[in-house]
Amino acid sequence: MTAVAARPIVSISRLSKSYRRGDQVVPVLRDITLTIPEGDFIALMGPSGSGKSTLLNLIAGIDKPDEGELLVDGEDITRLGEADLADWRASHVGFIFQFYNLMPVLTAFENVELPLLLTSLGRRERRERVETALALVGLADRMEHYPNELSGGQQQRVAIARALITDPTLIVADEPTGDLDRKSAEEVLGLLRRLNAEMGKTVIMVTHDAHAVPRGTSRTWRKGS
């Protein structure tokens, strides 16, 4: 735990979510209360079906809870309509998925540029930012490559660049190293740690991998705690 408590960037209060499977209603999250301070690196861990991904989806604004309050940077996102939520995500959340989720028909450059198309930035400005982001993840020389020309680790780094490009409030990662070999996983995690330590980005990660959790100022959250 840090000595000085940073302000909470995510405040969850009495959050509940259930899924309907045919006739059955399966409760996944029941009455969760949690705060995540700004600049934290938090790993959500737990067995399959424990609701960690569900919690991540709710925080990221791609799903809505049945009950409870969810404040991100002071804003209750449960009150936002779908269109506003989309706008909110565009500026507040950076996504990293297990299978990279890059558009196969777009180059690395174009993939990273995608979120910027939702802003009012001009072409030249977008180009500058994309080049900076790709340089940051060490792939400046692979800008014009298509995802099928890149290795798994490289694709994930492109995805990280895409997650960063709008300077979001939160970086949300769902099993970012799940599909990578040991070495690439290390590279990706290293990147995430640097983003957190050097750029002060709040990183919320769902993972199986105990090794993924960096030592030091991180926290883990397990279902039931």
């Binding site: 791609i62 989309a86 989720n101 558009m103 777009l106 939702l118």
Partner: protein, 395 residues
């Protein structure tokens, strides 16, 4: 912020390259649409060609007089005394010597076998005086010479020369109990005259044992004299005639055939388009299914449902436009062909071609867009309605 969001922010390269990746599917789907568009464009071009041929047959400065309520020259008869009266009417142009620019003509049908077939077809034979040739400035002699007055010589239009047997220069045709020598061919400027045989009016009348003319063509002194002329004819009891401007008359001639072509053609195009649209629908449903993960990702990144809808609709429309352009280009080659068929109203063969106009290009492309929109609509709606979490899970 909101107005901007409503526009499609998904880049064109995403839309285009997805079509390019699935080449076989894109080719087959666009190919089907190309064929539908081909049929559609061909029908429009044929109808335009028919109208073009008939309308260019007439000159706005000329008026044609026929027996009252005759629809065609073939059915009409104008007595010699009526014809003489017409020459005295006001509003008719006169040449330097004061001669009235009036052509008294007779129209008959004869049968000649088409080239490559032994089945004889009805062909129009027009007996006219030299002034009649003058009144049709669009007609130009291409080989040989014009027929001589008082002789059994004839000249044939381009379509007759090309499509029928035994009409070369120097050859003889037998009809109305006489042999007629072909002395020349003329080009009617893609008008109905291309499908006619011309000869001396008095000779024709003798041979066909006719005592009356079929029609009288007059050149107006001034374009606006028409109303005046019409008034005089209506007032004169002896002249039980209809007068029409030449272009209007010829346009009426084709109305039945034109309507038939249009109705048949458009009906066929609509039915065929159902097949093409189903093809597009299948393709787009598959595209949505294959890219469910991508859709979820785009939504997660902040793209709205409307952008997703628009992107897939744009893909469908682009597909249709590619097919449409291909079909149109293919159809444009039809302009090299001529069709000769019977014009029901005049009961004779008429040759006309395919005529591509800018209006047809526009209509065809709009039709393509329509097919793309209708075919792609339901799949695009399905894409837009996907829930983010479900799409990501399915990826």
């Amino acid at each position: 912020m909101n107005a901007r969001q409503i526009l499609v922010k998904i880049p064109f390269s995403y839309i285009f390259r997805n079509l390019w990746t699935r080449k076989v599917t894109t080719l087959l789907t666009a190919g089907g649409m190309a064929l539908v568009v081909f049929v559609f464009a061909a029908v429009l071009m044929l109808d335009a060609g028919l109208k073009h041929t008939l309308v260019s047959t007439g000159s706005y400065d000329n008026a044609i007089l026929l027996r009252q309520s005759s629809q065609t020259e073939i059915q009409s008869s104008v007595y010699r005394d009526q014809a003489s009266l017409i020459e005295t009417l006001p509003g008719i142009a006169r040449d330097a010597e004061g001669n009235p620019q009036v052509s008294k003509e007779v129209l008959v049908l004869t049968q000649i076998p088409k080239r490559g077939s032994d089945k004889p077809q009805n062909v129009v034979v027009r007996g006219l005086p030299p002034i009649g040739v003058k009144l049709r400035p669009q007609v130009k002699l291409t080989d040989g010479r014009m027929f001589r007055v008082g002789s059994s010589e004839i000249v044939t239009g381009r379509s007759i020369a090309e499509g029928f047997e035994g009409v070369g220069i120097g050859q003889r045709l037998r009809f109305a109990g006489r042999e007629w020598t072909v002395v020349g061919h003329f080009d009617g400027g893609k008008s109905g005259f291309d499908s006619e045989i011309w000869g001396d009016v008095e000779q024709m009348m003798q041979a066909f044992r006719r005592s009356t003319y079929s029609s009288v063509i007059v050149k107006l002194q001034d374009r606006d004299e028409f109303a005046n002329l019409q008034q005089h004819i209506n007032d004169d009891q002896r002249l039980i005639l209809d007068v029409k401007r030449e272009p209007a008359f010829y346009e009426e001639q084709s109305s039945s055939l034109s309507t038939f072509i249009s109705v048949l053609g458009i009906t066929l195009s609509v039915i065929f388009s159902i097949g093409a649209m189903i093809g597009a629908m299948i393709t787009m449903y598959a595209a949505v299914a294959n890219r469910t993960g991508e859709i979820g990702t785009l939504r997660a990144l902040g793209f709205r449902r409307s952008s997703i809808l628009a992107a897939f609709l744009a893909e469908s429309v682009l597909l249709a436009l590619v097919g449409g352009a291909a079909g149109l280009i293919l159809a444009s080659f039809l302009q090299a062909f001529t069709i000769t068929t019977m014009n029901w109203q005049s009961f004779s063969q008429l040759a006309f071609g395919f005529y591509l106009t800018p209006a047809i290009v526009v209509k065809t492309m709009l039709f393509s867009v329509f097919m793309g929109l209708v075919g792609g609509f339901l799949p695009s709606v399905q894409a837009a309605r996907l829930e983010i979490v479900d799409s990501l899970r399915a990826a």
